[in-house]
Structure formats: C-alpha cells, structure tokens
C-alpha cells in the first residue's frame, strides 16, 4: 500500500514547472487591464483633445500581442486548449499518455521548432536595422515586440517538454504498477 495520498498523476517536477509558468502568466494577464485603460485613454484623447494617437494605437496591438502569445502558454499550463475529446474520453490512461507523447513529438514539436528557428532570424533582422514603426510618429524598437515570438514559442516548447516528461513518468509508473 502506498501511503502517499496525492493522486497518482502527480509528477512533482512537472507540476512545479507548470505552476511557475502559470503564476508568471497570471501576472502577465494584467496587460489586458492596461489595454482597456489605453483604449479608453485614446478615445478620450481623440474626442476631447487631439494628441499623438499613432503611438497609442500601436501600443494597443503590442499589448494584445503580448496577451495572446503568452495566453497560449497559460492555456497549456492550465490544460485548457480546445480538444475533440469524444473518443479520447474513452481511452485508458495508458492510451491517453501514449497519444499525448506521440502528439507532442509528431505534431506540436516539429511545428513549434520551425516557428522558433525562423523567428530567431526574424528578430535578428529587425534588430540589425533597429526597425521601428512605419509611421514616423509610431513606436520605436519593433524588434522588441517581434522578440516576443521566440520567447513565447520557446516557453511553449518548454511546456511541451515538461508535458512529455510528465506523460513518460506516468506511463512508466503505470507499467510498474501493472495496470
């Protein structure tokens, strides 16, 4: 008999990594509160006064972009990505683990790898020319927002490696216990 009362799916290290990712994303989710404020500010400025709006306009999609990119990681760390689970819900735990592992290795990782590798060039190019907004009154440092792609995709890959580790441990554990 095992006197550990935690559910058998607990893989300590993997859960810890997920927890860190989740916490960081939760702090980051305040970008949306800032976004609301920025848009209201812009409407006020435009209707009331007439100040430099292009930078604010651009700031909006910068905030949105940070939100959605890191939202992907949050969705992953909280396991809330959309799945078609009509069949999966009937799989055994073992089959579920195998599907996860195969899916990560065959589908998610190759795709994210392609995006990650090419995004490095993409950012380097922007950095090389110190790219800024096309609009002279727009925001500088375009490479900064562009670099959110490799950073977030890198973290997505990390989250997947973490998942891979968890599922492998679960699979092996399942075998050890003979069911």
């Amino acid at each position: 008999m095992n006197n550990d009362l935690r559910p058998p799916s607990t893989v300590l290290l993997a859960d810890a990594v997920d927890r860190v990712l989740r916490k960081s994303c939760e702090y980051l989710s305040w970008v949306y509160a800032i976004l609301i404020a920025v848009i209201l500010l812009q409407i006020t400025l435009r209707r009331g006064f007439s100040a430099g709006l292009i930078a604010l306009e651009e700031l909006q999609w910068h905030l949105y972009a940070i939100g959605v990119l890191f939202g992907v990681i949050y969705a992953q760390a909280t396991n809330s990505h959309v799945r078609v689970d009509v069949l999966q819900s009937r799989f055994s735990a073992r089959a579920k683990s195998v599907t996860e592992i195969v899916g990560i290795l065959l589908l998610a990782m190759p795709f994210l790898f392609v995006v990650f590798i090419h995004s490095l060039d993409f950012v380097a190019e922007s950095w090389r020319i110190n790219e800024r907004s096309l609009a002279p009154a727009g925001l500088p440092w375009r490479w900064l927002i562009k670099s959110m792609i490799p950073i977030s995709v890198g973290l997505m890959m990390l989250a997947f490696i973490n998942n891979l580790y968890r599922e492998s441990v679960l699979l092996i554990r399942g075998n050890n216990h003979g069911n």
């Binding site: 435009r46 007439s50 100040a51 430099g52 709006l53 292009i54 306009e57 060039d121 993409f122 190019e125 090389r128 020319i129 790219e131 800024r132 907004s133 096309l134 609009a135 002279p136 009154a137 727009g138 375009r142």
Partner: protein, 328 residues
C-alpha cells in the same frame, strides 16, 4: 542556357484594384509570352502567402523569390525608402521617371537595398499619377479648420498634417469606411479617385480635395531575390527589366485614363463637391513639409537621396518651367 524560372510573387495591393494592382497582373501575363515560357510569374494576393509589410524580408531571405510593393512600406527599416515611392511635393510621373532611369534614382535605389543588407534586386515596375488630397466631411477653408481634425493619413504626408494640428491615424484599408462613416475620423486620404471609389468614401465625406500634394506620383517595385536574379540568363533578366519598363508606360496610361470617369460620377451623381486647395494653404503644406524634411534628414541615407533628387529637380526646373504650357 538558364532554366525556366517561376517567380512566386506576393503582392501588396489586390490585383482587382485599378492602377494599384492591375499593372502587376499585366506583367504576369506578359512575362511568359515575352520569354517564350522561360519566365512565369505566380501572383499571391495580399496576405495570402505573406502580409504586404513582410514582403521585403521574405524576398531578401529567399522565402519567396520575388514580390511587388512600394518602397515606402520599408520606411520603418530605412527612412530613405519613402523617397523612392513618393514624397510630398515630389516629382510628377515623367520627372520621376527621368530621375529614376537617367538620373541617379535607380542607382541609389539599388544601393539603398545593398547597403541596407538586403539580398534583393529592384526593378521599378509601375508608376501612377497623383492621388486625391483626401475626403473631408466638412469644408476646409484654412489651416485653422484642420486643427483638431481626426484624419487617416499615411506616411510622410501624415507628418505634414500633424504639423498643422491634424491628429492622424493609420486605420487599415478595410476599416476606413466604417470609421469615417461613424465619425471616428473626420477625413481620410487613401488613393486615386478611381480607387477611393471602390472604398465608398463618397457616401459619407462629400468634400474631395485636390491636388494631392502629398503624392504626385507613385513608383511600384518588383523585388527579386538576388540569388534568383543572378541565376538567370542575360536574356531572362532583360525580359524582366524590359517588361517592367513597359509596365511603367502601361500604368501611367491606365492611371491617367481611369480617373475622370470616377470624378464625373462623384460630382454629378454622388453629390460630391470637388475642391482645390487655395494657394495660401498649399504654401502652408509646403512649409510644414520643409520642417518634416529637416527632421528626416537626420538619417544620412535619407539626406543623400533627398539631396540628389533635389539637385536634379532644381536643374529640371530650368527646362520644365519653360517647356510646358501652364495647366489651367
């Protein structure tokens, strides 16, 4: 003998837009005929493969082997790029072509890309006539009326408007009509009458101003990845250059031809009032532009290109101010 080439060409303007998109369609139809099938061009509508603002990077890195756009789209990477598509109070089409092909224009154009570290060969591949100066909901009689106006305005012309107290924004093409209609903006600039017609501005903004001081002529470019370009035979390269030069002629003709029809309809059927900027306002636009130039000159390449163009234009004026009958 070189192999047949397929140019995969993402474009920055929909091929259905007259003068903006139609010239490259014409080029793609002519190239296989001219080359006896040695060059083919497959056009990808804006965003289908890659978004307009990403075309330069995509061509330079060889992700696609060619692309069609305007240099002004790379102003965020190289401020001087704006000059090669259009600048406020810039040259008209024939003068622009003179500087480009016989002055230093094309050399500086290619040099800008080379110095900027872009692996592309550039061909001017269309040249179109002036734009309208914009669509306003209320008449503008002096620069006082511009103060506090919300207007969609692109590029360096937008800077000029800012200097005059306009608050400009860069609402994307698809949202302009809605924003204008609902009053989120009071005025907009987009393109030529025959093109603006397609976006329906005449329905909600009844004052259409001329001349389009911010954009007297616009050069469009065909970018070809340099490795692809160097891999072609002399004959293939000549076929592309010559077809693009023919397209310059073709697009000048097309864009000159299609405008009056739209203007006639605007004035006679759609209740649009077509107006001309008074001389004093033109002078104010011009002096605001001089200020903007001084700011832009901080970029060394911009200064070099601008000075070359200015030098050419000063000389050209000797000829043009005497050679042409004043327009009335």
């Amino acid at each position: 003998h070189a192999k047949p080439v397929l140019l995969k060409t993402p474009i920055a303007f929909g091929s259905n837009l007259p003068a903006l998109g139609t010239p490259i369609t014409w080029v793609s139809e002519q190239l296989p005929l001219v080359s006896g099938g040695q060059i083919k061009m497959k056009i990808y509508e804006p965003g289908k493969l890659v978004a307009p603002l990403e075309i330069l990077d995509a061509v330079s890195s060889g992700k696609v082997n060619s692309g069609y756009s305007i240099a002004g789209y790379w102003a965020g990477k190289m401020p001087a790029a704006a000059i090669f598509s259009t600048i406020p109070f810039g040259p008209e089409a024939p003068e622009f072509a003179a500087w480009m092909y016989y002055g230093n224009g094309l050399k500086l154009y290619q040099k800008m890309y080379d110095d900027g570290g872009y692996n592309v060969h550039v061909e001017p591949c269309a040249l179109i006539s002036p734009e309208t100066s914009g669509w306003f909901k209320k008449p503008v009689n002096s620069v006082e009326d511009l103060k506090g106006l919300n207007m969609r305005f692109y590029g360096l012309g937008g800077e000029v408007m800012q200097k005059l107290g306009v608050s400009t924004s860069l609402i994307p093409g698809g949202e302009i009509f809605g924003a204008l209609e609902k009053g989120a903006i009071d005025a907009t600039e987009f393109s030529q009458p025959a093109i603006d017609e397609k976006l329906g501005f005449y329905k909600v903004a009844k004052y259409n101003y001329f001349p389009g001081w911010h954009q007297q002529a616009t050069v469009f470019e065909l970018l070809i990845n340099k490795d692809t370009w160097n891999g072609m035979s002399d004959s293939q390269r000549a076929q592309i250059s010559t077809t693009c030069k023919a397209s310059v002629t073709n697009s000048v003709a097309e864009s000159e031809y299609i405008q009056f029809e739209a203007m006639k309809k605007n004035a006679e059927v759609r209740g649009v009032e077509i107006r001309t900027w008074p001389k004093e306002m033109m002078d104010q636009f011009r002096s605001a532009w001089e200020e903007v130039v001084q700011e832009q000159r901080k970029d060394p390449t911009f200064a070099v290109v601008y000075d070359d163009l200015k030098n050419f234009r000063d000389n050209y004026k000797l000829w043009s101010s005497r050679a042409f009958i004043n327009r009335d």
